[in-house]
């Protein structure tokens, strides 16, 4: 696709408007897209770096300024070039648009965020926020993906968990009912980790079809208003940004040197578990491994048989953390320079890989 005619935000959004109208028409009429026809993908990225620093993380062969705080980026991966549009008007939360194939786009973004201490990360939406997405429109489809086997050993799963891997995907009529039935089932509800939520949002006669994943990827399968898509992304981003801001304002411990001693501010976060841990030591040895997806390294000490403390480093961004953990809860301490996204990553990954009913209270 030639993009040289895109010289402003308006031009870009005009292109996207045609795209979402076209994909919807094809899907309604033909049930599938034409060869080469793709859906609009939008990624919300949490950033602590400048767009210039992005060049150190991925192979950008061309960068063109399109409008204020909007760049076209040609990113090379495995000798193939991919086109993205980076909107960094919000310096903390970048929006990255692309019409590339879904799997290719996901891999390029994964390259961006998966280095060590690289200052970029996904937006890790807790299940509560994904449920709020359901309420933004008519519920169309849902993906449930409980992936304990990404974190826990086979032995641990066999001995301690009811599921190692649980996947459910449902769309169309009855999806909401199915989800409600599964959710109301006590033995299942801790394992209903949402991976994506699909909605049809209608506002003033316009509509948009969105699928939103747990890590901030939007796939727009149709609609008649790009503005409604932009508004949907903005609303979800604002909700996430507010949560992140509250964590950073209230839940980072800071020690301030004073003339006669040291002052203390901030309070830890507590994550309460519905799926109680049977053996805390074994649990720790499965989650603190310096491996994907949690990327937590740490040294542990026993406080009592079922109460342990871990002091470690989050290898996504090199933030220090301390966790105290017992069967019913984890207490998470973050340092004064820690990124709030560290807490949300740990929390949402626990929901995804261990207990979807885990809850975390954030001080207002």
């Amino acid at each position: 696709m030639s993009t040289s005619s895109i010289q402003s935000r308006r031009d870009l959004f005009d292109v996207f408007q045609h795209t979402i109208e076209g994909t919807y028409d094809e899907l309604v009429e033909e049930q599938e897209l034409q060869p080469g026809q793709t859906m609009l993908k939008t990624f919300l990225i949490e950033s602590n770096v400048t767009p210039e620093e992005l060049h150190e993380r991925v192979d950008i062969t061309e960068a063109r300024k399109v409008d204020f705080d909007l760049q076209e980026l040609i990113i090379q991966r495995n000798a193939t070039k991919y086109t993205f549009f980076l909107d960094h008007e919000d310096s903390r939360f970048w929006t990255l648009y692309t019409l590339e194939e879904s799997e290719d786009a996901k891999k390029v973004v994964q390259d961006m965020v998966s280095g060590v201490r690289n200052g970029l990360d996904y937006t890790w939406m807790p299940i509560e926020q994904q449920r709020e997405v359901m309420d933004m429109g008519v519920f169309r489809d849902v993906g449930v993906s409980y992936d304990a086997d990404d974190v826990f050993s086979e032995d641990y799963i066999d001995e301690r968990l009811d599921f190692g891997d649980l996947s459910v995907r449902s769309s169309g009529r009855g999806t909401g009912t199915l989800f409600d039935i599964l959710d109301s089932h006590d033995e299942l509800s801790s394992f209903l980790s949402l991976s994506s939520v699909g909605i049809k949002r209608n506002v003033n006669g316009s509509f948009i079809l969105e699928r939103v994943t747990h890590n901030g990827r939007f796939t727009t399968s149709g609609g008649d208003s790009i503005q409604l898509h932009l508004d949907t992304v903005a609303e979800i981003k604002e909700r996430y940004a507010t949560l992140l801001r509250k964590i950073e304002e209230n839940h980072r411990l800071s020690y301030e040197s004073q003339e006669h001693g040291t002052g203390l501010d901030g309070t830890p976060l507590v994550i309460e578990l519905d799926n109680e841990i049977e053996d805390v030591r074994q649990f720790i040895e499965n989650i603190i491994t310096a491996k994907n997806p949690l990327r937590l390294w740490g040294a542990k000490t026993k406080l009592d048989d079922q109460y342990w403390k871990i002091k470690g480093v989050d290898l996504h961004n090199n933030d220090k953390y301390t966790i105290e953990i017992c069967p019913k809860w984890l207490r998470l301490y973050l340092g004064d320079e820690a990124c709030g996204n560290t807490a949300l990553r740990i929390y949402s990954n626990l929901q995804r890989h261990y207990d979807s009913n885990a809850t975390m209270e954030v001080e207002e």
Partner: protein, 298 residues
């Protein structure tokens, strides 16, 4: 004595007091509800020619009131009583010297001194006959019970009315004040894991580092410690560094330092190797630090 392992009673008490001032669903926020915040940890000042060094001052702006706390194991010294008595009876010195900062200087201010212990200090022969508060963290099968001893209660009635405080858990918070080293209540294990944590953290930021870099990163009160204590902590940190060099852990650390190519794979692999050795290493170092301390004492 507390049932929690690998942490001194002194450190646990400080954490328990701070915990009572915090919002935390797993621990009571009784003092927070009265407006108390952590005004200052480990304050140190001179009053009437004597050095005064309690553990903690909590201040409520709502009551314009501070609690000056000294966490004890069992022993109480007569001269300490005298120092604290002098502060107890002229609390305004805490304001005029700028030691308390969370109170309102334009209103009436009051402060009370409190001893705190896991032991029952009622039988302690040096317990002064004055109006200090004495708080015991007693325990039953399920929780700690923070209670004031008879005749040693807080003068501020709204504060006293909150006692006894039931924690509903024996799992106290431990990381507001993560360790105490060099004061006789040595949390060598906590100190070692904090230094290890900082070693990885600092190594991911910079190519070279020394004991001071690690201590600055690991010790929340580092800037305010006196020179003697700093020197003692430096010596302990050097012991940890020497031991991880002797055990070959430095190779894993060097690999994660800034500038490595193919970062995630290298970092992940190196730290997985380190992770496998950490538990044994911490055991060895704790033993060495305890031995060093005993040798110094002898």
């Amino acid at each position: 004595m507390s049932v929690m392992e690998n942490l001194s009673d002194h450190t646990l008490q400080i954490n328990a007091w701070i915990g009572l001032c915090q919002l935390d669903r797993t621990f009571p926020d009784t003092l927070r509800n009265l407006g108390y915040t952590v005004d200052i940890i480990d304050p140190s000042f001179v009053h009437e020619g004597d050095s005064v060094n309690p553990d903690l001052i909590l201040t409520s702006r709502a009551y314009n009131h501070s609690i000056v706390i000294d966490c004890k194991s069992y022993f109480i010294k007569k001269e300490q009583n005298e120092k604290y008595e002098s502060i107890h009876h002229s609390p305004e010195v805490l304001l005029t010297r700028g030691i308390v900062s969370a109170a309102d200087a334009s209103e009436d201010f009051n402060a009370e001194f409190a001893y705190s212990s896991f032991e029952d200090l009622a039988e302690n022969p040096h317990l002064p006959e004055n109006d200090f508060a004495v708080v015991q963290y007693d325990e039953d099968a399920n929780q700690y019970i923070s209670r004031t001893l008879e005749d040693y209660e807080f003068n501020l009635s709204d504060l006293q009315d909150e006692f006894p405080i039931f924690t509903d858990t024996r799992r106290l918070p431990t990381d507001y004040f993560p360790f105490d080293v060099g004061t006789g209540d040595d949390d060598y294990r906590q100190f070692t894991i904090s230094i290890l944590q900082s070693t990885v953290h600092v190594a991911l930021e910079q190519d070279t580092f020394n004991a001071d870099d690690l201590l600055e990163d690991a010790h929340p009160l580092w800037v305010d410690l006196d020179t003697n204590l700093k020197n003692e902590l430096r010596a302990h940190t050097e012991t940890i560094i020497m031991e991880y060099q002797r055990q070959g852990l430095d190779g894993h650390i060097e690999k994660v330092q800034a500038g490595s190519k193919d970062e995630w794979k290298v970092v992940s692999k190196s730290l997985q190797a380190l992770q496998r050795k950490v538990d044994g290493f911490v055991d060895d170092v704790q033993e060495k630090l305890e031995q060093t301390s005993l040798d110094d004492f002898d």
